[in-house]
């Protein structure tokens, strides 16, 4: 791969993959491994992307699948202590510790919240990416929102 294209890909998608990896695996170094895995899959794939949105959706799906593979593997350490959260570079409100609260949720809640609130995807789009029904996504979002005390996005009211 040309250096210019590699740089474009890493700069435009690296943090996205990393955040999904952290949300899934709750561990910064495993999330970095996921980044490497997804980029290599990108190089090895024959997928032709119609536009950037198509490319981004492919990357998100591939990242989630890679995270699921890690969760299934015997080498993955399932215990994540609160001390490990310090490895994740994130600022937290000392009053509410929202990152800590996010990481206590099941991973499917975390990913829905992330795609909805941070990436700005609609429920329909999230359902397509995660291959779930819209009803499932709504339910996951509703439960996660209540636990985190997040408000519904204005554009979705």
């Amino acid at each position: 791969m040309e250096e210019k294209e590699a740089r474009r890909l890493v700069e435009s998608c690296g943090d996205l993959i990393y955040r999904i990896g952290v949300n899934y695996l709750k561990n910064a170094s495993d999330a970095e491994d996921i980044c490497q895995t997804v980029f290599l899959k990108y190089i090895a794939s024959d997928v032709h992307f119609e536009n950037q949105q198509h490319e981004k959706a492919w990357i998100i799906r591939t990242t989630i699948n890679a995270c699921k593979d890690v969760l299934k593997s015997s080498a993955f350490k399932n215990t994540t202590t609160l001390e490990e959260l310090g490895d994740i570079k994130a600022t937290e409100s000392h009053e509410t510790g929202i990152t800590e609260e996010v990481m206590k949720l099941p991973h499917n809640y975390r990913i829905c919240i992330y795609l909805y609130y941070y990436e700005g995807y609609s429920i329909k789009e999230i359902a397509s990416i995660l291959q779930k029904t819209e009803l499932s996504v709504r339910t996951l979002l509703s439960r996660a929102r209540k636990k985190l005390q997040l408000t519904i996005r204005e554009d979705m009211q």
């Binding site: 791969m1 040309e2 250096e3 210019k4 590699a6 740089r7 890909l9 890493v10 700069e11 690296g14 943090d15 990393y18 955040r19 952290v22 170094s29 495993d30 970095e32 491994d33 980044c35 490497q36 895995t37 980029f39 290599l40 190089i43 090895a44 080498a75 994740i88 570079k89 994130a90 600022t91 937290e92 409100s93 509410t96 929202i98 990152t99 996010v102 919240i113 992330y114 609130y117 941070y118 985190l148 005390q149 997040l150 408000t151 996005r153």
Partner: protein
């Protein structure tokens, strides 16, 4: 007071890859490229690679060439990096995947420490584009503060083509023996040139690429630059070890010492 939504967005916005991590990934990605014709000699061609990891792929191809062809023939190969891990304890799993039994240390006495490990696969094709070989290798990346990174690539011996008979061994600039194992050292120079500047290479540079076994030209970099890499090769128990580091941070003796630790660790 920040709303909960804003807090969440702020927290997620701060989850970012470091610049070092991004640069490492970029370098790995640009090494995953096809190699075009090699005729038993290291030739300058359209290899788009980062210099530090170049020797590993050429070495694998050279070993495949030695194993499968009595006479020089058009041989191509594609090296692909597979899964990776930051956990040294996964070594056994990677050995099984590559079907080789290797010796590896987690930390060297000179301060180099394990950072990550990955599996790679090289597929070789003959002149008719038929696949003639598919070999997996284990690769370990080490770092040391204020020094260039080191990678160790471990490939199985292919079809009894042993290192001592290879061009890499024969063209080594220095060699020594430890516990009956011969170590071959080389210092390679890499000239990286943007694809658009291919026509700017001088006759001297092109001739040198043909005749100097330790000079390589690569296309596809962002800027024209010259880099160096030290390599050390040895064979132990049907596994070929290639230690590779950019620049001049590691001397011949440094690499010999590290190889000694690997050999004695077995």
């Amino acid at each position: 007071m920040m709303s909960r939504n804003a807090e969440y967005l702020d927290a997620m916005a701060n989850l970012t890859l470091s610049d070092d991590a991004k640069n490492r990934m970029i370098q790995r990605m640009i090494t995953t490229t096809p190699i075009t014709s090699i005729s038993g000699k290291k030739r300058n061609n359209s290899i788009k690679k980062y210099a530090v990891l170049a020797a590993a792929c050429l070495m694998t191809l050279g070993l495949i060439a030695a194993a499968f062809i009595g006479n020089p023939a058009k041989l191509t190969s594609k090296k692909v990096d597979l899964s990776g891990t930051r956990h040294f304890e996964n070594l056994t799993e990677y050995e099984k995947a590559a079907q080789i039994d290797i010796s590896a240390v987690e930390a060297f006495k000179n301060g180099y420490k394990f950072q990550y490990m990955y599996l790679s696969e090289t597929n070789a094709f003959d002149g008719d584009s038929s696949k003639i070989s598919k070999e997996k290798a284990v690769n370990i990346h080490y770092t040391c503060e204020n020094k260039a990174d080191l990678e160790i690539h471990m490939n199985p011996v292919i079809a009894s083509a042993h290192l001592k008979d290879s061009e890499d061994a024969q063209n080594a600039t220095d060699q020594t023996e430890i516990d009956g194992i011969t170590l071959y050292y080389s210092l390679n120079e890499y000239l990286s040139v943007p694809a658009s500047e291919k026509g700017t290479l001088t006759n001297e540079e092109l001739e040198r690429a043909e005749s100097d076994n330790h000079f390589f030209i690569y296309y596809g970099s962002l800027e024209r630059k010259t880099t160096y890499a030290s390599t050390l090769l040895f064979e132990m128990d049907n596994v070929i070890y290639l230690l590779e580091s950019s620049g001049n941070d590691l001397t011949t003796d440094d690499l010999y010492s590290m190889a000694k630790e690997i050999i004695e660790h077995k």
